[in-house]
Subunit: 388 residues, 2 copies
């Protein structure tokens, strides 16, 4: 097990009706908030009225920044920074999915940066301070409500990059699984794939001594496998939504990654898909994950894939590890495509091979993929090709 | 899944050589520390010199409170409070096992209480504030380095009670698995039983919707089953010590209990053993746990015990749930007695039946055991009897 620092300062108020803590908690951080949200879903669900009502009752003045889109844009961050500076905002309250929360995090950091906000995405060392952030997530997916990471896209340069800072940990998040009852089928499926991909990125590591973390990772995978399809079948199944929601936070808050090195291969490869094609992140991950697994399968990695088959998919132990590994990868593909109904190829996402060269170039320019299965430009290109 | 609040503010610096952060971290909380420890083991190991050297180099003045014993006494807490008040101590630094850490927590709370320190053990509501606490644990067992609980014994009244307060969460803990290489065989075994018992107390709950938490609990149990015996065989096996040490923290920091009700039956029953006989807590738990499991096995609980057999002990699923449950309980008993070499009966601990009536009385007077298997005075008496 590698050395690690554990520090997860975000407070979570989890469960039915927990919005009751919003007024008291928000007042700890300020009297002027910027309410950040996406499209119309929080208005349709009544959550907008509920939140703004509580802010008013508690004497918290607020401004609004709506219209955050999936794969959130730096232009929206700039807009938020201008509002914060003009009005002296003290608290950023993100109500929505990961894009909304990530936008809040980037605004919170960029407010304290003198240059253009994109600079703090390109170089996290430029982040010196972050406005307090609070979240009310409405989908189980990115886990952004309990981590210190923001992923932001630049529509001009076609870049999608992540940045992070300790101050980006939300101060608190209110997680009510009932808010996710109305998440559409395809988004529920993509969110489940996103959670599983976060777990895979930690699980498939070259480090072997972190036994406990591997078993925790398997716990989360089993949870997604059980409750992803259950939430599709029955969108208002509280137990399913609650388990998925808590899994989404634990998948990426650090718990699974402590004591190991993670390569974050599939995320890095997927980010270029989203940057060029604006695909749903989780759908892109679902396509790329089994292809990456097949590509990564070799003498060094086969035992880990076999272990995955035994511990997660319930295969009997023993027997040929390659057979176990291949069967586990096939189970993963089937789960994404059949049980969750996600696309199985880039073709289904409307993506051709035109830009694979440029995309592969940018993957390796951004990040050297080491560890479990090192990947160079050609490898990444091959993975895109195999995913067509 | 029940509603819950997640808040684990303790920072952990985990791994080899992490003592390097002590000076910088300690200075955040004050310039005068009380160094609290147990017997001579930290002198023999060199840890005493290492810690005091770092405090001196960093200009942190310190006083000392040594001689904390297992099942730590309120008299030692009183002694610590007097030192803190006389010298204006700002930080409590506990170096040792759970008893040392619990003593620090109780001192930290009692310093701010005008009456006798035992009052804040009897009634946690009397705790208003707690001095900052830092820990360097030297055994994997209680998990006290990452929770907000202190268990203190009163030698006059023969009571052993727990108290807690949010301020009792240590500010930081430095966890170096190498410090546990020198833990003797019987203490390593008892520590492993203590960790497993913490997990069992959350795992065997009447709540059924917390699927994720149950899988996390199984991850910790599998870790103990693998690495407890490994640490006995090879005391300086870093991987074994590291996995046990991190399991000890996660077993009781809240992670497993969120979203469920736990009865803490076996701990409550064991506390009276320790109160009257001063037995090693983990050894008492190892004796009582399988007996409690047998007593708790009924139509309401059989499925959970069967699930435990399948998911933790690797039994094939299907078949008679009672047979699976009984086999899982027997595996638990064998693990404690054969694999860990712990006692299998109260007789082996030198305990007769003389005080069972009084002990059972006090268990139920202190706490109503509800939930998974409700227990009244007679039930507790029967469990003591069956454990003879």
């Amino acid at each position: 097990m590698l050395n690690f620092n554990y520090a997860i300062p975000t407070e979570i108020f989890f469960g039915k009706g927990r919005i009751d803590v919003l007024g008291r908690q928000a007042k700890r951080y300020g009297a002027k908030a910027l309410l950040i949200y996406g499209g119309g879903s929080i208005r349709r669900s009544g959550l907008y009225e509920s939140v703004t009502g509580i802010l008013e009752e508690n004497g918290i003045a607020f401004l609004e920044l709506g219209g955050v889109r999936p794969n959130p844009r730096i232009s929206k961050v700039r807009e938020g920074v201008d509002i914060c500076r003009a009005h002296g905002v003290e608290l950023l309250l993100a109500v929505g999915g990961g894009s909304t929360i990530d936008t809040a995090k980037a605004i919170g950091a960029a407010v304290y940066h003198d240059g253009d906000p994109w600079e703090i995405v390109l170089d996290r060392k430029k982040i010196k301070n972050v406005l307090p952030i609070a979240c009310i997530p409405t989908i189980a997916a990115t886990g952004s409500e309990m981590d210190a990471i923001a992923v932001i896209s630049n529509e001009e340069t076609k870049q999608k990059l992540s940045t992070s800072h300790r101050g980006m940990f939300p101060k608190f998040s209110i997680m009510d699984p009932a808010y996710t009852f109305s998440v559409p089928r395809d988004q529920t499926a993509a969110g489940t794939a996103d959670i599983m991909s976060h777990v895979f990125e930690s699980y498939f590591s070259a480090n072997k001594g972190a036994f406990l973390q591997d078993r925790l990772a398997e716990a989360l995978l089993k949870t997604c496998i059980r409750y992803g399809p259950a939430a599709l079948d029955e969108p208002d199944n509280y137990e399913a939504r609650a388990n998925l929601m808590w899994a989404s936070s634990l998948a990426i808050n650090g718990l699974l990654g402590y004591g190991k090195e993670a390569s974050w291969s599939v995320h890095t490869i997927e980010h270029e898909l989203s940057a060029f094609y604006d695909v749903t992140h989780g759908a892109g991950l679902a396509v790329l994950t089994p292809v990456w697994m097949e590509y990564a399968l070799n003498a060094d990695t086969v035992d880990k894939f076999a272990q995955y088959g035994v511990n997660v998919w319930g295969f009997g132990p023993g027997g040929d590890p390659y057979a176990l590994a291949r069967a586990a990868i096939e189970k993963t593909r089937e789960f994404f495509t059949s049980a969750l109904g996600l696309p199985g190829s880039l073709g289904e996402l409307g993506i051709g091979d035109e830009k694979f060269g440029k995309m592969a170039e940018r993957v390796v320019a951004r990040k050297t993929i080491r560890g479990f299965k090192p990947l160079d430009r050609q490898d990444v290109f091959n993975i895109y090709k195999a995913a067509l």
